[in-house]
Symmetry: C2
Subunit: 153 residues, 2 copies
């Protein structure tokens, strides 16, 4: 396994740990991690249920937890997320010009991947079985919360 | 003045009051208000400086302050913002399928208006002098904070 793959595996493991943590809290199991040159800048998970939040998707949580960064720092980031990012999170990636996004899966939900690619952002989809299983279980258990999170009835 | 214009004026006045509040706190003077059928669902302002936040733009703050809403409620919303929404905030509007956006000005910054229009969202730009003056004053005083907020060096 190449060094790049090891870093990506570590990034996705961290995102997945956040997703599991959220599930264990009764929340939506989507996690995210931001890494730059091997350093974790921030990570987070969906907070809709835990904080009654309409905006703290996993990616927004991770960006928020990373705190205020200079523009140049974001240009070094790879964003790891367990699920294809919705349009809000896609827009956040575009705002900060994050150059690379690694996605656990896009079968449960397909977000703004084409929009990312049209802005020359590298998009890698891992198609991870555990990311899919966790979401499938949650959606079976709490379909209304999931629909609310993606703005669907 | 028509009834619709009175409602829009009230909505923008509230967004502008949030922008002034943020300026008075030493923050970035952008404000937002969400109204549905004459009812204010939430309002907020940029919190980069006040809360050291990378994600609480005015629109995200207002959505967050409105709390968890059913998808159908967002379909009744007009979002009033003092400045053209960045791509993150544009994405949030698209996520929740908010059908109408009223913008104080887009001279200081032009965000994702074309993307909104391509999704059949009604976009109205008021070109309000006070919105522009407030931003011009802030950018003169704190150019680095402004660049950080829009992901630019």
């Amino acid at each position: 396994m190449s060094s790049a793959n090891e870093i990506d595996r570590a990034g996705m493991m961290q995102a997945l740990a956040q997703a599991r943590k959220s599930y264990d809290e009764g929340g939506i199991p989507i996690g995210c991690s931001l890494m730059a040159n091997g350093t974790v800048l921030g990570c987070g998970h969906n907070q809709r249920i835990q904080k009654s939040s309409a905006t703290l998707h996993a990616e927004i949580s991770a960006l928020e937890n990373a705190g205020r960064l200079r523009a140049q720092r974001y240009r070094e980031v790879t964003l790891y997320t367990t699920l294809s990012p919705c349009l809000m999170c896609t827009g956040a990636i575009l705002l900060y010009k994050i150059p690379r996004v690694v996605i656990g899966e896009n079968i449960t939900f397909l977000g703004g991947e084409e929009l990312l690619k049209s802005h020359q952002i590298e998009v890698v989809v891992i198609d991870d079985p555990e990311c899919k299983d966790l979401m499938a279980r949650f959606i079976r258990e709490k379909p209304e919360e999931w629909n609310e999170d993606i703005g669907e009835e």
